[in-house]
C-alpha cells in the first residue's frame, strides 16, 4: 500500500483548469472553462487525503461518496468513478459545472483548511464529461410494474424524480410547458457555462430509461393535477415547476422600454437564440450600456450574456458589498475578467425616462452597511444625499423570483403564505399521491438541491405506491411494512399488477 498522504506530500497547488481567454470568450458563447485533461484530473485526485470522517460528503446536499469517486480516478478507473457518482447524482456533468461548490462540498474540505480545497466539482465534471463522450449510461435491468407516474416540469427536480421512478419500473411521462425540456438549465443558464449538448445528453439518458417527454404542455391549464389522477390514470404525480415569476423593483420607471427581468433576457437569448437574430426570429436588442441589478448567479449570467451580445459597458449594481454577493465566487471573477464594472453598495431609486418611453439612465444612491438583519448579513442603509445618475439604455433586474401562480390557480394544492407549495418532510403535498420539490417548494435554490428534492420525492412516491427495492434488505422498524410507510394513510391504494 502506498504510504499515507499528508497535507505536506500532496500537490500544494490546485490544478488549474484551462479557460478561454477573456478577450476572446467575451465575444463568443463557447464554454468558458474547458475542463480537465486526464492528466490534470489524475494530479488533482492525488490532492484528496481520503479523510476517514469525510467532511466533504456532508457538505454535498445529496451526500455523494466524494473520496470514493476520487479514489477511482486515481486508479484510472473512470467507469468505476462514474458508477459511484451516479449511485447518488443523476447529473454529474451538470452539477460539476454549476454547483456553488465553495459553499458546499469544497467549502468543508479538509485540504481547504490550509491549502486550496480539492477541486471536487472539476473532477466530477471530468467524470461526467467522459461518460457523455464514451456514451456510458447505467441502465439497470428494469422490471416494469403497472404504475403510471406523471412529472410536471422538466428541470433538475423533475428529471431526477423521473429517473428514479423509471428505474423503479414505472411508466413515466414528463410534461413541460416550453417546447424543449431542461428547465432553468436550458432557458436560464447560458451555453458558455453549461452547453446545451450536456443537458441534451442527460435528457437522452432519461429517454433510454424509458422516460417520455411531452413538451408544449401547460399542466393546470391543458389538464389539471386532479384530472391526471382521476381521469388520466396517473397513480402518482410530482410537481417540479420551478419558481419563475420574476420580481420587479417597484421604483418609478419600472415599466419603461429597456427595463426587463433577467429571466426574459436569458430566455430570449438562450432558449429562443436571440443571439442568432435575425436567423432566429426572437430579438433581444442590447444597449450600449447595460445595468444589471443584483449579484446572484442570475445577475452574473445576465451581465455576461450582455457582454457577449455586444454591450459596450456592463455595470453590476448591488446594494450590499462583494462579500454578501450570493453568486458563485468563480462567476463574479469571470464577469470581472470579461470587463463588467461592479458597483457595490449602490441601490437604484428610479429609472430615468428619455421622454419617448425608453430608458435613459438609472438614479442610484450609495449605501453603507448597518446592523445585521434576520439573515445575519449587515443591512445596507442609504447614505443621505448621495444620489447620482448612471447613463444606461438597458436595465436588467435580477433580484429574485416568486412562486409561479399557475399550480395554485388550477388545483387545490395547499400553498404556504408566500405562494410556494406546502409539503411535509417527505415532500408529500396536501393532495394524496401528489409530491412536490425543487424551487416551487423551497424558493430559488440550486440545481443539486432541486435534484436531491426530486430523488427524495421519488423515494416517498415509491413508499406511497408500495414499490420496494427487492435488492435492499428488509428492515422492519415498526413504521414500515414491506417498504410501505405505515404513517402514509393512503397505502391501501397499492394494487396488484
Amino acid at each position: 500500500m502506498a504510504k499515507k498522504k499528508t497535507i505536506r506530500t500532496i500537490p500544494q497547488e490546485r490544478t488549474p483548469m484551462r479557460e478561454q481567454d477573456p478577450a476572446v470568450r467575451s465575444k463568443n458563447f463557447e464554454e468558458v472553462a474547458c475542463g480537465y485533461h486526464p492528466d490534470d484530473a489524475l494530479r488533482e485526485s492525488d490532492r484528496c487525503l481520503m479523510c476517514p470522517d469525510q467532511p466533504c460528503v456532508s457538505g454535498c446536499p445529496v451526500g455523494i461518496n466524494i473520496p470514493g469517486f476520487i479514489k477511482k480516478i486515481g486508479e484510472k478507473d473512470l467507469r468505476g468513478a462514474y458508477d459511484i457518482l451516479t449511485a447518488t447524482s443523476l447529473l454529474p456533468a451538470i452539477c460539476g459545472r454549476v454547483c456553488p461548490q465553495e459553499n458546499q462540498c469544497e467549502g468543508v474540505c479538509t485540504v481547504g483548511e490550509s491549502l486550496e480545497a480539492v477541486a471536487i466539482g472539476r473532477l466530477e465534471r471530468f467524470v461526467g464529461d467522459t461518460a457523455i463522450r464514451e456514451g456510458w449510461v447505467n441502465i439497470p435491468y428494469i422490471e416494469t410494474n403497472n404504475y403510471k407516474v406523471g412529472i410536471i416540469g422538466s428541470g433538475p427536480a423533475g428529471m431526477a424524480c423521473a429517473a428514479d421512478m423509471a428505474k423503479a419500473g414505472c411508466d413515466v411521462t414528463v410534461f413541460e410547458a416550453f417546447h424543449q425540456p431542461g428547465g432553468v438549465l436550458k432557458y436560464g443558464i447560458p451555453d458558455f457555462r453549461l452547453p446545451n449538448s450536456v443537458i441534451d445528453a442527460e435528457i437522452g439518458n432519461l429517454r433510454k430509461l424509458g422516460v417520455k417527454f411531452e413538451c408544449n404542455t401547460l399542466v393546470g391549464r391543458l389538464f389539471t393535477i386532479e384530472q391526471m389522477i382521476t381521469e388520466m390514470g396517473y397513480d402518482s404525480v410530482f410537481v417540479g415547476v420551478g419558481a419563475g415569476y420574476p420580481t420587479m423593483l417597484g421604483i418609478p420607471g419600472d415599466s419603461l422600454n429597456g427595463v426587463l427581468s433577467a429571466n426574459e433576457l436569458l430566455t430570449r437569448c438562450n432558449l429562443m437564440r436571440a443571439k442568432e437574430f435575425p436567423n432566429f426570429d426572437t430579438p433581444q436588442p442590447i444597449g450600449k450600456r447595460v445595468a444589471v441589478v443584483g449579484a446572484g448567479n442570475t445577475a452574473m449570467d445576465a451581465m455576461r450574456v450582455s457582454v457577449r451580445l455586444g454591450a459596450e459597458k456592463v455595470y453590476c449594481i448591488y446594494r450590499r458589498s462583494r462579500k454578501e454577493a450570493p453568486a458563485r465566487v468563480e462567476e463574479v471573477h469571470h464577469a470581472e475578467q470579461e470587463g463588467v464594472e461592479f458597483n457595490w453598495l449602490t441601490n437604484p431609486v428610479a429609472v430615468l425616462d428619455d421622454g419617448k418611453g425608453s430608458v435613459r439612465g438609472l438614479r442610484c444612491v450609495r449605501m453603507e452597511l448597518g446592523e445585521p438583519d434576520e439573515s445575519g448579513r449587515r443591512r445596507p442603509v442609504p447614505v443621505v444625499g448621495s444620489e447620482f445618475d448612471f447613463e444606461c439604455d438597458l436595465i436588467v433586474y435580477a433580484i429574485g423570483t416568486n412562486a409561479n401562480p399557475i399550480m395554485g390557480q388550477t388545483s387545490k394544492l395547499r400553498l404556504n403564505k408566500w405562494g410556494y407549495i406546502d409539503t411535509d418532510l417527505s415532500l408529500a403535498t396536501s393532495l394524496a399521491g401528489v409530491f412536490a420539490g425543487g424551487d416551487i417548494v423551497t424558493g430559488a435554490a440550486t440545481v443539486i438541491e432541486a435534484m436531491g428534492a426530486g430523488r427524495k420525492a421519488a423515494a416517498s412516491m415509491k413508499a406511497y405506491l408500495g414499490i420496494r427495492d427487492s435488492t435492499l434488505p428488509y428492515a422492519n422498524d415498526g413504521e414500515k411494512l414491506f417498504g410501505i410507510d405505515l404513517r402514509e394513510r393512503n397505502f391501501t391504494r397499492v394494487r396488484v399488477a
Binding site: 416550453f178 408544449n216 429562443m272 426570429d281 409561479n404 401562480p405 399557475i406
Partner: protein, 293 residues
C-alpha cells in the same frame, strides 16, 4: 401530445386568415378568453394568439390571425391544410369570467373580432341578452357576420367608411347601444389597445363595467419572464397568468401602447430579412425553372 396539424384554412381578406388546428386535448380544455402560444418553426418566435373558437367534438382549435409582421405573414404563406405548426401550447391565461350579467355588449375590432366571438356565444349560452358590435375598415373585410348574428340578440357592424353598417368607430356603436338600453350590465371589448382605450373611455361616464383583453408582447406565457407586465390601477400584473382580461377602467393603456413599440426596429429587420430570403428563394426557384425550360 399532438402534431398541431392544420386541417382548415380560410382567408377572410388579404390581411386576415383563419387556421383550424388539431389538438383534441386543448379543444376539451379551452374556455373563452384563453390564448395559445404558437411557433411556426424551430427558429420561430413564440407568438400569442387568442383561441377564437374550439370544437370539442372535432378536437380542434380555431385561430384568426392578422398578417401584420414577419411571423404572421410567414404563417399566412406557409400554413396550408396538411402542414403542421412546430409548437402550440395552451390554453393559457385565466378564462374570461362569463358573469351573470343579464345584458352585455361584446365589442370586437380588428384582430379582436374573432376572439370576441366565443365570449358572445358564452354569454348567450348562459342566458344573457347579447349585443354584438364589430368594427372593420370597410365592407370587404367583414367576416363571421352569420356566426355573430346566430348568437347575438342585436348585432351592429361599424365601418370606417360606412360601406357596411354604421359609419364610424365601435365607440359610436357602443353609444348607440347605451342610448337604447339603459340597463347594460357589462361591456367586453377586444381589439387594438387604442380601440379598447376608446371603449373604456366611452363607458366610464356611465359607470358600466368594462372588461378588456390585453395583448402585450409575450415570450413564455407562463409567468416566468415578466415581459407581458401591464399596469392595472396602482398594481403591476403579468397579462399571461394574471389576465389577459382586466378591468378596462383601471388599465394604463398609454403604458401598454408604449411597451408594444419596444421591438419596432427589430420587427422591421426580421421582416426585411425574411423578405430578402424569400426573394432569394424565388430567384433560386426561377433559376431552377429556367434550367428546366
Amino acid at each position: 401530445m399532438s402534431n398541431f396539424e392544420i386541417i382548415t384554412r380560410e382567408d377572410f381578406s388579404d390581411l386576415t386568415y383563419l387556421l383550424e388546428v388539431r389538438h383534441p386535448l386543448m379543444a376539451k380544455a379551452a374556455k373563452p378568453g384563453q390564448f395559445v402560444i404558437v411557433m411556426l418553426g424551430e427558429h420561430g418566435e413564440r407568438i400569442p394568439l387568442t383561441i377564437a373558437d374550439f370544437d370539442r367534438e372535432k378536437g380542434t382549435i380555431t385561430l384568426v390571425i392578422q398578417a401584420i409582421g414577419k411571423t404572421t405573414r410567414q404563417m399566412q404563406q406557409e400554413c396550408q391544410v396538411g402542414t403542421s405548426l412546430y409548437a402550440m401550447v395552451g390554453p393559457m391565461g385565466i378564462p374570461s369570467p362569463i358573469s351573470h350579467a343579464k345584458k352585455v355588449v361584446c365589442v370586437g375590432g380588428g384582430l379582436g373580432v374573432a376572439p370576441i366571438y366565443p365570449q358572445a356565444r358564452g354569454f348567450k349560452e348562459s342566458g344573457a341578452y347579447v349585443i354584438g358590435i364589430v368594427g372593420f375598415r370597410n365592407k370587404d373585410l367583414v367576416f363571421w357576420e352569420k356566426k355573430f348574428r346566430a348568437c347575438c340578440d342585436e348585432f351592429i357592424i361599424c365601418t370606417d367608411d360606412g360601406s357596411a353598417g354604421i359609419k364610424g368607430m365601435v365607440t359610436a356603436g357602443i353609444l348607440q347601444a347605451i342610448e337604447k338600453h339603459p340597463d347594460i350590465d357589462e361591456v367586453i371589448a377586444i381589439g387594438p389597445p387604442i380601440m379598447m382605450k376608446g371603449c373604456a373611455d366611452t363607458t366610464r361616464p356611465y359607470k358600466i363595467k368594462t372588461m378588456v383583453s390585453l395583448n402585450p408582447v409575450m415570450v413564455d406565457g407562463t409567468g416566468m419572464c415578466g415581459g407581458c407586465r401591464v399596469k392595472i390601477g396602482d398594481q403591476v400584473k403579468f397579462a399571461c397568468v394574471d389576465g389577459p382580461d382586466f378591468d378596462g377602467h383601471l388599465v394604463d393603456f398609454d403604458d401598454l401602447m408604449t411597451r408594444l413599440k419596444r421591438y419596432t426596429k427589430e420587427e422591421r429587420m426580421a421582416l426585411d430579412h425574411w423578405e430578402k430570403d424569400k426573394e432569394k428563394g424565388c430567384r433560386l426557384q426561377k433559376a431552377v425553372d429556367s434550367t428546366i425550360d
